[in-house]
Symmetry: C2
Subunit: 211 residues, 2 copies
């Protein structure tokens, strides 16, 4: 089955519409998706950026807010610009990587994006995350405890290192089974098509069609 | 008739596929397009960037080359990564703004992009531009003379100032008749649809449908 890694950062505005539509789009395309939260901050820092590019370049930032607003409207998604930007995605990413949340990671992640970009809630605060976990009928206290463990912290560091290893520099990004990288919500459909195509090419073998 | 300003920089890789497809796409959508070359350098400089972001951030740059290669392949466009990047688009932009080239500005511009990104030729050199003008059956020598005039230099400065005034920060960008800005080759279709929609809304008047 064709495969796509969906790399997302909880603080990323464009990851929100991607997270809300990727499951339906992938199902239709017949592609299996792995949800992989990571931290963009360390990756930007390694490139000499100590803040969101949308803050460093305010003209680009102003455009981004308008663009995301349009995209959400076209997608039928609620959108409200949060008071604070960027928010830290650290807590949400660690919680997403706990063993208890793993089976519902997509649903958890969508709820975090909705809290942040539809309801204007602070996702760096335990209260917000706790309420989301409770709504998912999970043991919020036990999961928050686990999210502070060395093992979970290390897991997030390893995922972020892997994102850097495959040369990601923004979110959302999509990486096919064979390592083709696509950056940006607007590349989701191209990424899905590529993932399908590369599996078909593989199946066809050396005498089959090549791209 | 719905209107779209097509703002492009001759050095911009993503402007190449946009320039090659905008006329057919606009015709199909029923949108009139104004081709407006400008210089991105002074705009980036005002934001503290003294080179192409693709050079300042090499991981993003490497991705861009792969992405443009894929886009060109999907669009059936020849693509060859030029030896030098970014090239100066100054000469080409001035020539594009001369009175003699104005009536064939789209054809001239497409030839400059093909020379740069399909044939790997140096577009900052008069020889390359001269050959393109001659191929268009224009008086290359007279036009190059005119491109050095104060009037043409001032025209390009004014266009670049206008691009900055409407908050452009990258190329290609598309601006509708009512000032809605879209950035990036991948937003061309959304920009055309917006231009059509805003004209329909206007025609419907105050009792008509609103967006």
């Amino acid at each position: 089955m064709p495969h796509l890694d969906f790399w997302y950062e909880f603080a990323s505005t464009y990851s929100y519409p991607a997270a809300m539509r990727i499951e339906a789009a992938a199902k239709q395309a017949g592609v299996a998706v792995a949800w992989r939260p990571f931290l963009l901050g360390p990756i930007l820092k390694a490139q000499g950026l100590d803040n969101s590019p949308f803050e460093i370049f305010p003209i680009k930032g102003a455009y981004m807010w308008r663009d995301v607003e349009r995209i959400c409207e076209a997608q039928g998604l609620a959108f409200r610009r949060p008071d604070a930007f960027p928010q830290s995605g650290l807590l949400a990413a660690r919680v997403a990587l706990t063993a208890a949340v793993a089976p519902v990671r997509p649903a958890f992640s969508r709820k975090v994006y909705l809290a942040q970009f539809a309801e204007g809630r602070p996702i760096a605060e335990e209260e917000t995350i706790s309420a989301i976990l409770t709504a998912l009928k999970l043991d919020a206290e036990a999961i928050l405890d686990d999210s502070r463990s060395q093992m979970v912290k290390e897991r997030l560091r390893a995922e972020t290192a892997e994102a850097m290893r495959v040369h990601l520099f923004g979110a959302p990004s999509f990486v096919t089974g064979k390592g083709e990288v696509f950056w940006g919500n607007d590349r989701l459909d191209a990424a899905l098509a590529w993932a399908v195509q590369e599996t078909q090419t593989e199946r066809a073998g050396p005498t089959g069609a090549t791209r």
